[in-house]
């Protein structure tokens, strides 16, 4: 079991709810993934509109926890206000904190992120910060009151997979007791398995499932890959070797000459 701010979670896959071909496919993909946590957002509602109500009813019918995000926020003030509005609507202290610093890469503004995390943690929020793989930023986020870290492994939606394995390994090594969730950049199940094999606690992804040819099939594939990666980490893996090592015993081998 994985404990996130005291909440015990069985599934190590957190799933985003955007970009699916239809609400029905979103619902089926969530079920197929066996996720217990989905990310959601807040957007302007038109006068007399019921868009939000329909979406919220669907999510509530799935029986999962929600992790609201502050996606699209580029300043501390925007992110903090959005987080407070999310707490109103979703009745949770959880917040996936995003403070975006760059339009092209959607790279977090880590300075604003730390500042916003400090404000929100002091206000009772349980912050899930979307951050880079920078070790010192991670330390600052923990000092600011975060008990979980969510480093990217590649830019959001890029599907590139782990770009800096050594940095991820370093985070895992430095923070053995902090839940670490890779958020963003995962493109395929093997990427998810790879970061789970490094000892990461969970994976958060969206586009790789939502934009797959068959999102429901892909949700199943990710669930299996994440389980496999976790089991492999726990079982202890062989380290790579420079030379071949025979697997079949040589003792007792017949000699023909």
């Amino acid at each position: 079991m994985l404990s996130l701010y005291g909440t015990e979670i069985s599934s190590r896959l957190l799933l985003g709810t955007a970009l699916y071909p239809s609400p029905a496919i979103l619902g089926d993909a969530v079920k197929a993934s066996r996720t217990e946590i989905v990310t959601v957002s807040l957007r302007r509602e038109a006068a007399g509109g019921r868009t939000g109500e329909k979406f919220w009813s669907l999510i509530q019918s799935l029986g999962v926890r929600v992790l609201p995000n502050t996606a699209g926020c580029h300043s501390v003030k925007e992110a903090v206000t959005t987080a407070k509005m999310a707490r109103e609507v979703f009745s949770t202290n959880w917040i996936k904190l995003e403070v975006i610093g760059n339009h092209d890469t959607l790279q977090p503004d880590v300075f604003g992120l730390v500042e916003a995390a400090r404000i929100l943690a002091a206000d009772g929020f349980q912050v899930f910060p979307y951050t880079t793989d920078d070790l010192v930023v991670a330390e600052r986020l923990l000092e600011a009151g975060c008990k979980i870290l969510m480093p990217w492994c590649a830019p959001i939606g890029s599907a590139r997979g782990p770009q800096n394995v050594e940095a991820l390994r370093s985070l895992r090594g430095h923070f053995p007791d902090t839940p670490l969730i890779v958020d963003a950049g995962i493109g395929r199940p093997s990427h998810a398995a790879a970061v789970m094999e490094l000892g990461f606690d969970a994976v958060l992804l969206n586009t790789a499932v939502a934009k797959a040819g068959d999102p429901i099939g892909m949700a199943t594939a990710f669930a299996k890959a994440i389980e496999a990666g976790r089991a492999a980490f726990l079982a202890g893996m062989l380290e790579p070797r420079d030379m071949a090592v025979p697997s079949t015993p040589l003792i007792g081998k017949a000699v023909f000459s």
């Binding site: 985003g16 709810t17 955007a18 970009l19 699916y20 979103l26 990310t39 959601v40 957002s41 807040l42 957007r43 302007r44 509602e45 038109a46 006068a47 007399g48 509109g49 019921r50 868009t51 939000g52 109500e53 979406f55 919220w56 999510i59 609201p68 995000n69 996606a71 003030k77 206000t81 407070k84 509005m85 999310a86 109103e88 609507v89 979703f90 959001i156 969206n206 586009t207």
Partner: protein
């Protein structure tokens, strides 16, 4: 008075946030509101008096990653 509601200038009669939401047919407990960048909780909408030029945000749940 004129307000900026979700980024658009509108002429309204309401003088509280609760009245404004009724006037514009916003209903439901899934909406979050802010006035001039400050969150206004549901319980405070009745008391939240509006002034000409206020910026109002009315948000609802949306898909997200």
């Amino acid at each position: 008075m004129k307000l900026v509601i979700n980024g658009e200038v509108q002429e309204v009669a309401a003088d509280t946030l609760a009245a404004l939401m009724a006037e514009l047919d916003y209903a439901g407990n899934w909406l979050a509101t802010a006035r001039n960048g400050e969150v206004v909780p549901v319980a405070e909408r009745q008391l939240c008096r509006l002034a000409d030029g206020d910026h109002i945000e009315i948000l609802s749940p949306m898909k997200g990653g």
